[in-house]
Point group: C2
Chain length 80, copies 2
């Protein structure tokens, strides 16, 4: 199975990378750009064949390694 994990900063947490992208877009002449936020996407190939078990495993991975849950949210998608 394949798991896709999105890790994004919680709203209210300062995002300097996003700010830099927003500023660069303005400099390049793109107008009408509001807030820009940057996050991570992590794609994991898993040997596990049971979707529920795979999701539980990936949730544990997020809690222990992939996301800093103090400042980041994560979401998990499992594809067969």
């Amino acid at each position: 199975m394949k798991a896709t994990v999105h890790v994004t900063l919680k709203s209210g947490v300062l995002d300097p990378q996003g700010k830099a992208i927003g500023h660069a877009l303005s400099t390049l002449g793109f107008s009408g750009v509001g807030e820009v936020r940057q996050g991570k996407v992590i794609e994991i190939s898993l040997d596990e064949t049971d979707a529920a078990k795979a999701e539980a495993d990936v949730k544990a991975m997020c809690e222990r390694l992939l996301a800093n849950t103090v400042i980041e949210n994560y979401s998990i998608r499992i594809d067969g």
Copy 2:
């Protein structure tokens, strides 16, 4: 409107961050983990109200700034 851009390394391009994550997961005792790839997700708030125009704008942003199209693929999702 809100645009979500996924930027991922093309297959075949070495991904040291993904390799490091995969190695760390093994060290933490997670078994059955195959390839791990890390990419970026960029969320952009746009003043534009026309979805087709917004998508064209964001495509231009990807080509000019957000993605290095030599080694990266990007995908765009526009939400109302």
